[in-house]
């Protein structure tokens, strides 16, 4: 038997305040003192029965959870605890549970521990041991709660509370799940320090087993790759030659590409230079034309001052050899006609010598001289411009051709570079690279061997601890079996007892096959009424039998490990859910008896029940065994009536009276 005394938490008083879900009567919330025996949390769907049970659970555990935990496969998890932020309580409100608090007072043996938590964060606001305040950081305060239980670690406390004391819908089955059963054995029957070492060893071995398997997959793959690579080294010379030739190709293409690029840059520069020259020549031409037009304009504008600008513009353009604005011709045929007419002093359109032209007179000799000079300059510039424009055309053609050439070379170069990369990838690595790879694989192989050795060594220690623990469990086997038979007999019509046998299981995927202590159920049946047959899985019994065999096992375990004067607590979620009508009465009777048993600290059973027409509430509270006076006096103390204490949902708002009448009927004598 373990040296340390384990004290299970027993709820004495629960206060929930400022939580929207449970406003209570007159907004005072819930304040309930738990009496010896059964207390029923009664309500209908959606009123918060599960939430209230979770408030009790979380008042003990806070936001601490295992990093990985599956109630249906506890062996797959780890014992590492983490802080998990939870919005479970705040998300059920519209004020994020601001100021909501739970104040829960538990008995741990003869000690009293009062825990006050904020419901939104689950942080501990106050902690009192036997009315004496304890201060510290959150983890220190949580440690004090664990310490009160006598358990070695927070994980063990979590497991005992979550999987043993609480019998929730998503629970670890302690009778039908061998690894779940062994975990509670480890916690309850091993020496606490060894239980801790045992759990840590299990985690360590599983991690190493996983690392070993991963390494092996990688190693085998890398080894195969190395072998294939080594096999290719025979063709190395051919591949090297092919690679060499491809490198020559790529180099040549790179050179060609660079040469075309240089040509293109030069051609672009040439084109820009021509463009600049063209633009400048055009501006010079423009200036000369302007001057020529200006000189001629002095004649026409004096002769015809009212001529519309459009006509003057056409005339000046033609006259200044600036093109025909009417048809768009750059070099009109009769470009000198208008100038000649101007020289003669006649109308440029009807060629009449009239009073207007007479007044103005002919172009002066000076002006004519200037015009002729400009004409000569213009002719030269026009020729230059024509040559430049022809040069530009050629330059553009050259640039286009070089762009085309470069595109061709570039695509060939990209293709050749791709082929080169492929060849390089195919080429076996150098001897140096192969040696490096081999060394790496050797190192991984060494790590695998070391891991294997460590696993073997640690498994040996684990087996030793397991043997020690097994002895403790075997010593308790008789007591446990006897106790179970009593409780199961009260529940079940069939004869049912426990049988001890070793359960073989590997530690990790490929760990050593180890034998773990395990109790399984033997039960008689219609076809085997005298001799019980083993029922190893929960599918081998009915739904009612499954639940209550597990419950009977827990009661037997409590009896086996608790101190004679200590109380225990069982929190059961909707026990009626899986019971037929006969079982309802039996279950109620037994739970009530278990709750009222004990000469020292009282046992407390908290069961949440639906008002669904079954007799479970009546049965749990033992109404039939009480006289009228006792019902009136005692029963209200054992009821947490959510019809009155919880915020009414739509069903209660509509049919609250009917539900209350149903409850009153269930509680009536």
């Amino acid at each position: 038997m373990a040296n340390t005394i384990i004290r299970f938490p027993v709820l004495k008083r629960l206060k929930v305040s400022d939580y929207q879900l449970f406003p209570g009567t007159n907004g005072k919330g819930i304040d309930h003192t738990f009496e010896r025996g059964v207390t029923v949390v009664v309500g209908i769907n959606g009123l918060g029965k599960t939430t209230l049970l979770n408030i009790i659970l979380r008042s003990l555990l806070g936001f601490n959870e295992p990093a990985k935990f599956d109630p249906y496969d506890p062996a797959a998890g780890s014992h590492k605890m983490v802080e998990k932020e939870t919005e479970y309580f705040s998300s059920r409100t519209t004020n994020l549970a601001e100021n909501a608090r739970v104040e829960a007072e538990f008995a741990f043996g003869s000690d009293r521990l009062k825990i006050i938590r904020h419901l939104d964060t689950l942080a501990i606001e106050g902690l009192y041991l036997n009315d004496k305040s304890i201060t510290g950081e959150q983890d220190e305060l949580q440690h004090e709660i664990v310490k009160a239980s006598g358990l070695a670690t927070l994980y063990d406390f979590f497991y005992v509370v979550r999987s043993f004391t609480f019998f929730l819908e998503d629970k670890v089955s302690l009778i039908w799940n061998p690894s779940g059963q062994f975990e509670i054995f480890r916690i309850l029957f091993f020496d606490p320090t060894k239980a801790k070492e045992f759990a840590e060893l299990a985690d360590k071995i599983k991690r190493k087993d996983s690392r070993y398997r991963n390494l092996r997959v990688y190693y085998n793959k890398a080894m195969e790759e190395l072998k294939r690579t080594e096999a290719r080294t025979g063709n190395k010379s051919t591949a090297t030659e092919e690679l060499r030739l491809k490198r020559v190709d790529v180099n040549q293409l790179e050179e060609s590409d660079a040469a075309v690029r240089r040509k293109l840059e030069k051609a672009l520069l040439g084109r820009t230079m021509i463009l600049e020259q063209i633009q400048k020549t055009r501006l010079e031409l423009e200036e000369d034309r302007r001057q020529q037009e200006g000189l001629l304009d002095s004649f026409f504008s004096r002769a015809f001052p009212d001529l519309p600008a459009i006509v003057s513009n056409i005339l000046n353009h033609l006259d200044g050899d600036h093109g025909c604005l009417v048809c768009g011709t750059a070099n009109p045929k009769k470009r000198h006609k208008f100038r000649d007419l101007a020289k003669q002093g006649v109308c440029p359109f009807c060629e009449t010598h009239n009073i207007r032209t007479e007044k103005v007179g002919a172009l002066t000799a000076r002006a004519e001289g200037e015009i002729n000079e400009i004409e000569t300059r213009l002719q030269g510039k026009r020729k230059n411009l024509s040559a430049l424009e022809a040069g530009l055309t050629k330059s553009i053609e050259l640039v286009d051709a070089l762009h085309g050439e470069r595109a061709t070379i570039s695509s060939k170069l990209i293709a050749a570079q791709g082929e080169l990369e492929q060849l390089e990838a195919k080429l076996p690595p150098s001897q140096e690279e192969l040696d490096k790879k081999r060394k790496q694989l050797d190192s991984e192989l060494r790590e695998m061997k070391n891991l294997r050795l460590e696993i073997v060594k640690e498994t040996k220690r684990y087996s030793t601890l397991l043997s020690e623990g097994r002895e403790n469990i075997e010593r308790l086997a008789t007591k446990l079996t006897k106790s179970f038979q009593f409780y199961a007999g009260a529940f079940l019509a069939e004869k049912c007892n426990l049988s001890y046998r070793e359960e073989k299981r590997r530690l990790g995927e490929e760990g050593e096959l180890l034998s773990y202590p395990n109790f399984h159920v033997n039960m008689t049946s219609a076809v085997s009424p005298k001799m019980g047959t083993p029922r190893k899985e929960d599918t081998q019994v009915s739904e009612s039998q499954k639940e209550f065999v597990d419950l009977a096992f827990r009661m037997a375990l409590f009896d086996a490990v608790r101190q004679p004067k200590d109380g225990v607590m069982l929190v059961i979620e909707t026990p009626e859910a899986s019971l037929d009508s006969i079982f309802v009465k039996k279950a109620g009777d037994l739970l009530r008896k278990f709750g009222e048993d004990g000469k020292g600290e009282p046992n407390v059973i908290i069961a949440s029940c639906n008002l669904n027409g079954t007799d479970i509430v009546r049965s749990l509270l033992g109404i039939d065994a009480l006289d009228k006076e006792a019902v009136k006096k005692e029963v209200p103390k054992k009821i947490i009536n959510l019809l009155k204490l919880a915020a009414p949902n739509a069903a209660v708002r509509e049919d609250g009276k009917t539900y209350q009448a149903e409850l009153d009927k269930a509680l009536s004598k």
């Binding site: 820009t272 463009l275 600049e276 633009q279 400048k280 055009r282 501006l283 031409l285 423009e286 200036e287 302007r290 001057q291 037009e293 200006g294 304009d297 002095s298 600008a309 459009i310 003057s312 513009n313 056409i314 353009h317 093109g323 604005l325 009417v326 768009g328």
Partner: protein, 209 residues
Amino acid sequence: MLVFTTRVWLVFLVDAAYRAGLNPLSKRRVHRLVFLSNCLAPLFQATPNTAQIVKYKHGPFYPLIQWELDRLATMGVLTIDNLKYTNDDKGWWVSADYGAGQMMDPVLTHCRQSAYGQRLGDYLNEVVAGFASLRGAALDEVALRDENYNQPGATADSFIDFSEQEENFSLRTARAFRDVLPTNLVPTQKEELFLYMRFLEALVTKKTN
């Protein structure tokens, strides 16, 4: 093809100026608007009509565009008035005013039937609207303060080529405003254009003062 594009560009510009209350447009102003609209075209994913220009004593001026302006006036798409030849220390200059001619509306209607014409028209409307929003005294000066026209190293008669976007200093400056604005304020193309015009106006004011 380039001839037609140039003509469409000019018709849209003169029309936008007419709508913005800048009618008639002086010849000098037409060339400067053409220059600014060429510089900022990539801001609206438009292709400049021409991305090369020679820095000229009379300010931005395009001989080929002048020819097309006069052709459009002869065709009746634009009007031409106040034709005047002057000679001063900068040499001969022909001043003239251009406006919307009788044939402009059918030409515009035709141009706007294509997606290209529609987009170009919208862009040039934005440029002229930005330009017209500036102080009257600064209007003919802003092109002379433009970042391309005044790019580093550009002296009289320099050839300016902003056909590559990284060498388009006007565009780069217009896009740089987003770097100095608060991070949650991303300017639209139009806002970048207006901010750039205001920036040029500020440069003109600074020089005047």
